[in-house]
């Protein structure tokens, strides 16, 4: 599985959505991406990439695109 596929899967599992809903997706943009859903997403991503995200990055993680930027610049996950 590529990193992009793992990343997408973490979102789809956390928010029960399809891949075609991911582009442009924002925090609190859908019902399930609330603060509790955000924790589920972070747990999925940490498991998928074997990382521990810093609190500041969890707070900054405001969209599907921003998440990729954070993971690639700070956690060495290449997409």
């Amino acid at each position: 599985m590529t990193n992009k596929e793992k990343y997408n899967e973490a979102f789809c599992n956390a928010f029960e959505i399809n891949q075609d809903q991911l582009n442009g997706l924002k925090y609190q943009g859908i019902k399930l991406w609330d603060s509790v859903g955000h924790m589920t997403l972070v747990a999925n991503l940490e498991d998928a990439f074997d990382i521990m995200m810093e609190t500041d990055d969890i707070i900054d993680f405001s969209s599907y695109e921003k998440g990729m930027e954070i993971l690639s610049t700070k956690y060495d996950v290449q997409f």
């Binding site: 509790v36 924790m39 972070v42 747990a43 940490e46 498991d47 521990m52 810093e54 609190t55």
Partner: protein
């Protein structure tokens, strides 16, 4: 996964400040129940290494030792990161390490206030932030914070210590609400004067005042505090959540 029976055997308990005092007694009580230990202490200590080795052999458990100075945010961050990398499960977290601090208001510097909060509150929050994420994934856990009667009752010259313990009490209550849906219980123990070296640091005057207010006189043995922690960590207390259990002889 967590055991669903009341047995603690085989679980993993992370205890901070367990090289002496109340924390060491908690370690021993858990070890005797077959609980594996993740010890987080300030620095390497050979006497503690020997003690741990003995506990491992006696009780057929594992003890993993990590180091962190709770005065330093970076040191705590490194510890949490190392803990993640170790992939150890954490079923029980005991935020026990702490310092006492005294001084009347005009003699309490902002630095002193910040330091006591850094150790007694901010670092506990930082550790809980990391460990609760492990527990959230496990979908179970127990967190026990070491508060103090000083966080509820007022004593002159204990503003900084008391405020830091009051903060941990509020933290306990809030976390008990926030984490309950992940099957994580959060409680605190609030001892009065307990028989550790901290009583010397508190001084004769504080000791006398506490004894005056206590119905049952005398120092609380560390074992009494450890046994309450053991009970709160076990499934026997599965509906106790968000509580601050005073061990104070009736004040």
């Amino acid at each position: 996964m967590c055991n669903s029976d009341s047995s603690l055997t085989g679980k993993y308990a992370l205890i901070t400040g367990c090289n002496r005092g109340i924390g060491k007694s908690i370690l021993q009580h858990f070890a005797e129940k077959g609980v594996n230990i993740i010890a987080c202490i300030r620095k390497k200590n050979e006497e503690f290494d020997v003690f741990c080795q003995k506990q491992m052999e006696l009780n057929q458990i594992s003890i993993h030792i990590f180091y962190a100075d709770l005065l330093e945010e970076e040191s705590v961050r490194q510890f949490v990161s190392d803990l993640y990398k170790s992939k150890l499960p954490v079923h029980i977290l005991i935020n026990n390490a702490g310092v006492v601090s005294k001084g009347l208001l005009p003699m309490t510097s902002m630095q002193q206030l910040k330091d006591v909060f850094q150790i007694n509150f901010f670092s506990q929050v930082q550790i809980t932030q990391g460990v609760s994420k492990i527990m959230m994934r496990q979908k179970c856990g127990v967190i026990i914070n070491m508060a103090s009667i000083g966080g509820m009752d007022a004593f002159p010259a204990y503003m900084s210590y008391g405020c830091s313990k009051a903060a941990i009490i509020y933290f306990t209550k809030t976390m008990s609400q926030e984490l309950a849906s992940y099957h994580i219980r959060v409680n605190a123990v609030a001892p009065s004067m307990t028989d550790t070296s901290m009583k010397e640091e508190m001084g004769e005057l504080a000791n006398m005042e506490i004894q005056r207010r206590c119905a049952i006189k005398g120092l609380i043995p560390v074992n009494d505090v450890a046994k309450i922690v053991l009970f709160l960590a076990s499934d026997d207390s599965s509906f106790i959540n968000g509580q601050i259990i005073r061990v104070d002889g009736g004040m």
